[in-house]
């Protein structure tokens, strides 16, 4: 089977005035269907830049990026927007739900841009909220939800267009330990059902919930290891 993500010698160079910053210097990475990858590294290591490129929010300076069989490097701004819409689901550190909008409407948003009919939107949003256990909170506004609940809405939003991959950028960075377990447990369940997930984190404990850890330093991958004993987040409910 073809890889979901294939990065081939990706570089990214920012030029600010006369200063050149090499954020990525030749990254090659392949992620297969069904993997659960943690990208780790200190700040400035290039992991966020890599995430932006993986998420089609940014374009590499050189190198080739194949996402689900599509060569993303050659696409226009609008085509990238469509890729983000249909092939990628984002989960952010700061949740990034729309204010003054209900959970249901937040989850429907990607489908609006996919031009899906109102009836289907409604049904699919309900189903996605069900998967993250928030069916009964569908009519609550973002501000009425706790941090963990907001992040679950964000996950439902990421899922709703059946993306090829979910990109999570420090999804537990703003959450306490218990809620972190909750969220990671959801990710693990989703992964078990076959969904590919790439997650950025700088916490080794969180990375332990994934199946594969990729470590960045100075714009390069310095290690890429399979996790021997994946921790089951659902067993971590009670603090030891």
């Amino acid at each position: 089977m073809d890889a979901v993500v294939r990065l081939d010698n990706i570089t990214k160079i920012y030029t600010m005035g006369d200063q050149r910053v090499e954020a990525l210097r030749g990254i090659s990475l392949t992620v297969e269907q069904g993997e659960f990858v943690a990208i780790m590294g200190a700040s400035g290591s290039g992991k966020s830049t890599c995430m932006n490129i993986l998420g089609c929010l940014d374009k590499p300076t050189s190198g080739e990026y194949m996402l689900d069989g599509v060569n993303v490097g050659t696409l226009s701004r609008n085509e990238l927007a469509e890729i983000r819409n249909t092939k990628i689901g984002f989960v952010f550190q700061g949740f990034n739900l729309l204010a003054r909008t209900t959970a249901q409407e937040n989850v429907e948003l990607p489908m609006i841009y996919a031009r899906i009919s109102a009836a289907e939107r409604h049904a699919r949003a309900q189903a996605a909220l069900g998967k993250v256990g928030l069916s009964e909170r569908a009519d609550h506004y973002s501000s009425q939800l706790s941090g963990g609940q907001q992040q679950r809405v964000a996950i439902a939003r990421a899922l709703v267009n059946d993306p090829a991959i979910i990109m999570a950028d420090e999804p537990t960075g703003n959450l306490d330990t218990r809620t972190t377990f909750e969220i990671m447990s959801i990710f693990q369940q989703l992964n078990k059902s076959g969904i590919t997930i790439i997650m950025i984190t700088h916490e080794p404990e969180v990375a332990a919930f994934t199946k594969r850890n990729v470590l960045f330093r100075d714009g390069m991958i310095i290690s890429d290891t399979q996790v021997e004993n994946q921790t089951d987040a659902s067993q971590m409910g009670e603090p030891a």
Binding site: L57, N78, A81, A118
Partner: protein
């Protein structure tokens, strides 16, 4: 369609969040549209007053005046000498193809008596065509007949002012008045025409048959002569042509050559009217454009607020872009918001404008003209203002970089 509904819902929600700000922003458009509608309504009302006055003189009119002559070194002014005749008038009617109607007149002032009332007024001898040319309907009774003219009957048509002053509440029709002590039967009462453009009372007049005036009332030393001849051209297009035809015909009839000064003069009344009408049009255009400036200022207000709104919602734009909104989705969203603002403002402004136009017309007594197309233009224009002034902020929002927008705090 669904997208439009969606954008509308998003826009309504965005406006609801900042109700006060939306209202204040709209106020600019409200005032602008209200001003445009009120000004145009009042302006075209005023312009209608003027053109009604002008029309009351009659349309497509030429006035042929008898000429000046020189006798013993003294030159008389226009109309000084009776050089025009009834035959001239009939010739104009019969031989000038561009002429529709001709009404020769003999005019004088006379004391008019009914019972114990008396009144001094203008008595004009003329033919039935006069009422056609002046577009002057009868309130009651009948116009002169050919037999009245040929038979020089002692019949008359009286204006409203004369009727009021001599008869008061009594119906004058069929009663007998004395003009210069000669008894006349009133056969018709003219409709009220009001003031002329020069401010004279057009209703203070009595019409009598031309021959009666020539022979019995103002018996002149030059029989068969007439004062002015009113000539109506067939249409505004042939007015100039009619003027040339009349000039040519009268030159021939009066044997005017290169060496002889013309003893008549043809005046084109419509030219004066066109000038008057033009000036009133310029006036309402001016009012409208002054009002439009406030609309433009309102539009700039919209642009300002939309720019603030885009900056405030940078993060929201970033989120929308990250989950797949294309440039045109964002562009459309902000344009919809701007157009919604201005259209709502436009509708409220329209109500306000119509209201104030009606109030002004009540207070001042001017008619106001609120035409459907003024309203349609105002609403379309306000939507246009929204598109025009909303485009730049919307474009700015749509071309944001999603990464920067997401990071924006």
């Amino acid at each position: 369609m669904t997208q439009l509904l969606m954008s509308l819902r998003i826009a309504i929600r965005a406006l609801k969040v900042n109700k006060m700000r939306a209202l204040l922003t709209m106020l600019g458009i409200i005032i602008g549209i209200a001003a445009v509608i009120a000004m145009v309504a009042i302006g075209s009302g005023a312009s209608k007053v003027i053109s009604d006055q002008i029309a009351s003189i009659g349309s497509n009119l030429l006035l042929v005046l008898p000429g000046s002559t020189t006798s013993g070194g003294l030159r008389s002014g226009w109309g000084g000498t009776p050089t025009l005749t009834y035959d001239d008038a009939r010739a104009i009617k019969n031989e000038c193809p561009s002429v529709a109607e001709v009404a020769p007149t003999v005019r004088g002032t006379a004391q008019v008596v009914y019972g114990n009332q008396n009144w001094s007024t203008i008595v004009m001898g003329t033919t039935p065509e006069m009422l056609v040319i002046r577009e002057w309907p009868l309130q009651e009774g009948r116009n002169f007949m050919v037999s009245d003219i040929d038979g020089a009957t002692k019949t008359c048509l009286i204006g409203q002012t004369v009727a009021d002053n001599l008869f008061g509440d009594v119906n004058p029709l069929g009663r007998i008045i004395r003009i210069k002590k000669i008894p006349f039967v009133i056969v018709g009462i003219l409709d009220r025409k009001g003031q002329s453009a020069q401010g004279t009372d057009q209703d203070d007049i009595i019409f009598i048959p031309l021959l009666t005036a020539q022979r019995k009332v103002f018996g002149t030393q030059f029989p068969n002569t007439v004062g002015a001849i009113m000539v109506q051209a067939k249409s505004a297009d042939v007015l100039k042509k009619a003027e040339e035809e009349v000039n040519e015909l009268l030159n021939q009839r009066h044997r005017i050559g290169p060496t002889k000064e013309a003893d008549f003069m043809v005046r084109n009344l419509s030219e004066l009217m066109e000038v008057a009408e033009q000036s009133s049009k310029v006036m309402s255009l001016l009012l409208g454009s002054v009002a439009s400036i406030s609309l433009v200022v309102g539009g700039i207000g919209i642009m300002n607020i939309m720019l603030v709104s885009v900056t405030e919602r940078t993060r929201e734009i970033g989120i929308r872009m990250a989950i797949g909104a294309k440039e045109r989705d964002i562009l459309f969203q902000f344009l919809t918001e701007a157009v919604l603002l201005t259209t709502m403002g436009g509708i409220v402004g329209m109500a306000l404008g119509i209201g104030s136009a009606l109030t002004v017309s009540k207070l001042v007594g001017w008619p106001t003209l609120i035409s459907f197309h003024t309203i349609a233009i105002a609403v379309l224009f306000s939507a246009g203002v929204g598109v025009f002034f909303g485009f730049y902020p919307a474009k700015k929002a749509a071309s944001l970089n999603p990464i920067d927008a997401l990071r924006y705090e």
